[in-house]
């Protein structure tokens, strides 16, 4: 079980959180202009790298806010977390 640092509430146990997948996936600026291939990539393709990964978590049983975490998918090391609107480098 992970300990996850909510940027608003501090470190809490994993069952308090819901996972939200890859972070920083922006909605297409001009959806009408996308080809089928580009839509497929937006809808169905997410990074699946081994190593440091920026991902979203929601503190569902706490403050209920979304935030981002940098975690290593190979080792499960929790590198840090940061608020929506901040950048991965801000993780702590």
């Amino acid at each position: 079980m992970f300990q996850i640092r909510c940027p608003y509430c501090g470190p809490r146990d994993e069952p308090e959180f819901k996972y939200g997948g890859q972070a920083h996936v922006a909605y297409p600026a001009d959806p009408e202009a996308l080809s089928d291939e580009e839509w497929a990539r937006f809808l169905f393709f997410r990074d699946n790298a081994r190593g440091r990964y920026a991902e979203r978590w929601n503190h569902a049983a706490g403050c209920r806010r979304w935030f981002n975490v940098i975690r290593d998918t190979g080792t499960h090391e929790m590198v840090g977390s940061y608020q929506v609107g901040e950048q991965p480098l801000d993780a702590r």
Binding site: M1, E14, D36, A40, F45, R50, E55, G74
Partner: protein
Amino acid sequence: MDPNEHALHNAPFLWRTPEPKSTYGAVIVGGGLHGLATAYYLAKNHGMTDIAVVERGWIGNGNAVRNTTIIRSNYLWDESAAMYEHALKLWEGWTEELDYEILFSQRGVLNLAHNLHDVRESVRRVEANRLNGVDAEWLDADGVKEFCPIVDVSPDARYPVMGATLQRRGGIARHDAVIFALGRACDALGVDIIQGCEVTGIDVHDGRVTGLQTSKGPIAAGKVGLVAAGRTSLLTAMAGFDVPIQSHPLQALVSEVYEQVLNCVVMSNAVHVYVSQAHKGELVMGAGIDAFNSYAQRGGLHVIEEQMSAGMQLFPHFSRARLLRTWGGIVDVCPDASPIVGLTPVENLYVNCGWGTGGFKATPGSGYVMAHTIATGEPHALNRPFSLTRFETGELIDEHGAAAVAH
């Protein structure tokens, strides 16, 4: 020397451990069940024997022997029913064909319904299965009690049982025996099984695959099949394209050994637990995936706890059973809970992945169609719908209801 120990040290090996040749007609990356089954059918059905299976660990170290071994074919859509039913028919002949005791036991699989939605979805699936020639029955709560007496079907249960689907031809098999059987069969057909050989690069020239970089040196290959389950994304990245899978931990557990009390497989999608009892006597229970991405082959204990608490409600008999061991594998989950088997943007490079939480049951069918695809350069009719391009065309095969977490 103790005769048992003597026998152990002098036991004949089931397969050779050759060094890789510099070139092969075809190389299969991944020595799990699907990779070995692919090599087996390439040799047996298509006469290709200049082939190798390269495996970074030892064959069967991955999901092949971490699964809960449930076999069934009662999927909703025509494409899946055809694929999984083909596999089930092959399972029915495999013990004889491979001449190895794989303990394939068609003891029946129950999928419980706990609410009105479950009931409707299950009855619909039973009808769809029958139209596709897949054996399927709907049991009411009394029928469930009769078929599996230790399930708690009392109306005030935490998860009331309103009925279940039953596939009598479903069941379990001994997964490590299947690895042994396939390893021996491949080897006997001339396939080189190369263990401790990690693929670290894929050579692509003019849009065509020409070989592999491995921890045992370069290997040239006319054709390459990627059959690497949870690690597939890492391999396709080496060849310059992506697959829409996410790799998640999936955990399971066994209890200590008990007398036989459970005569069939019982699954419940709604409460995320599935149970059978191994021939030796351990209760084998599986959970849902851990939500996050991972390559670490382990998950959180709270997932196991949740699953056990659901198991306890359904089977009050198990309340004093003791946990022996838990483990995790890394499963390759597709957005529509269906696999990807077929061509890739790279010529002569084929991919077989995305079986996620439920590929054990598909082993023979998966190998069969993958071998056809590699040998002929064209998908078999059964795997044509399971293409990588379906995510662009929108022809998804949404099996979340039949497959999602349960198997």
